[in-house]
């Protein structure tokens, strides 16, 4: 049985090690924060904050305290605030150990597409291009196939890229794949998913 959203998030949380500074994208990546357990993880919000806390209790929302998804959040005892140039300085400078992001497409060479579909409304890349270019390790978490059942893990991306050769690891509902020389390597299959099922669902070279 493939992993559900929470199981994918829990699997992604295993990627995180004690002491890491991490940036979580919107969607399933946001859920990863629920599964870090005892590990000492500091979350960055790229609009200018390290040490992002949980959502506020009702009535305690603060208009001056939001995350990169524009949601109201809270601070922690370790929190620091800084401006956007400093924030992306630390992203571009490789100070963030890992980013866990959603994607529309990932290619076997690590290319990532997650910001625009030509012909559809274009909202913008926000901080995604900076994150994939700068952070130490880029982990994509997404469903393995789109709603038509087509693989989102591809030989080549068809959509405009967010970054070229930037993805290190892909975690989908079917399993975990690493970007290696020559293609993708299966690291792990989801519970009850066979390697054959994973290969069949993947439109990319598996080495």
């Amino acid at each position: 049985m493939p992993w559900n959203r929470n199981e994918m998030a829990a699997r992604a949380a295993e990627e995180l090690e004690d002491g890491m500074y991490v940036n979580l994208g919107i969607g399933i990546p946001t859920l990863v924060a629920n599964y870090v357990g005892d590990k000492d993880i500091t979350l960055q919000s790229e609009n200018g904050m390290l040490g992002m806390g949980p959502f506020p209790f009702e009535g305690e929302e603060d208009a001056d305290l939001i995350n990169a998804g524009k949601q109201t959040i809270t601070e922690l005892r370790r929190t620091s605030y800084f401006d956007s140039a400093t924030s992306f300085g630390m992203i571009r400078g490789g100070k963030i150990a890992a980013a866990i992001l959603g994607a529309m497409e990932v290619a076997e060479n690590g290319d990532l597409a997650n910001w625009m579909i030509p012909g559809k409304l274009v909202k913008g890349m926000g901080g995604a291009m900076d994150l994939v270019a700068g952070v130490g390790r880029v982990i994509v978490v997404m469903d393995h196939t789109n709603k038509h059942g087509d693989s989102k893990v591809l030989r080549e991306c068809t959509l405009p890229l967010t970054g070229k050769g930037v993805v290190d690891r892909i975690i989908t509902n079917l399993g975990v794949l690493d970007v290696v020389d020559g293609g993708l390597k299966i690291v792990e299959c989801a519970d009850g998913v066979t390697e054959e099922v994973l290969r069949a669902a993947t439109d990319a070279t598996i080495v």
Binding site: A63, R92, G124
Partner: protein, 234 residues
């Protein structure tokens, strides 16, 4: 040398002109110079280009200047949450230059720091890199991005003293310091002007040298995505 003005309109008197480039602070609706944007709407200045991470929503932030068709072009990283923006963009009334968020922030800081260009890995191999100079450093490829030199900066801070020293509050700091730096003239709106000497010199986020005009006002500070959690019951 008085920096304090009586109102947003007075603070903008003589500095607005058609076709100018304005750098604006704020991220989403957080920390935006809402009073100055309203005053620009009241002034009716046209053909403006805004360097601003976002374009507000339909009825708040830069969105109010889209409704009055005062904006010719946006330099932004993300313009969702704004139907009027999309309508004008798709109909060709509005120009749009997408910048990755970090590139936009650094372009503003660079302009303010006398740096006309810098190299970044962000966007290499994407549509963002098209037409830009590529250069290798240590075996890796980077693209050249240029500093933004704005005609005017408009920013929102929490507190100021009369010399324009500013402090911001929490994530409302965001693009405000780099936006303030890159303008030939910078106008700041704050929630409170405090007596000289009451801000900690070690805690100033933006020194007054960057701030030419200053107003105090009441801010709506709208929340875009109100998200809460439930209190656990014992």
């Amino acid at each position: 040398m008085k920096k304090i003005y009586g109102s947003a309109s007075e603070a903008l008197d003589g500095v607005l002109r058609e076709g100018m480039l304005i750098a604006a602070g704020g991220f989403g609706l957080c920390g935006i110079p809402e009073l100055l944007l309203q005053a620009i709407k009241d002034a009716g200045t046209k053909d403006l280009t805004f360097a601003s991470n976002n374009a507000g929503v339909d009825d708040f932030g830069i969105g109010i200047l889209l409704q009055t068709r005062q904006v010719k072009k946006m330099i932004s990283s993300y313009v969702g949450e704004n139907a009027e923006f999309m309508r004008q963009y798709l109909s060709g009334e509005l120009e749009l230059e997408f910048n990755p968020q970090g590139t936009l922030a650094e372009r503003m800081r660079a302009g303010g720091c006398g740096i006309p260009g810098f190299y970044t890995k962000t966007g290499v191999g994407t549509v963002i890199a098209e037409g830009k100079e590529h250069k290798d450093f240590g075996g890796e490829t980077y693209i050249l991005e240029e500093g933004i030199f704005a005609d005017l900066s408009i920013v929102k801070a929490w507190k100021a003293d009369e010399t324009g020293n500013l402090i911001f509050r929490k994530t409302a700091r965001n693009f405000n310091p780099p936006a303030a730096m890159c303008g030939r003239v910078c106008v700041a709106e704050v929630e409170e002007i405090v007596p000289l000497g009451s801000l900690d010199p070690d805690g100033i986020h933006l020194p007054g040298i960057y701030v030419h005009r200053l107003i105090q006002g009441t801010h709506e500070k709208r929340i875009e995505q109100r998200t809460v959690r439930q209190k656990e019951t014992a």
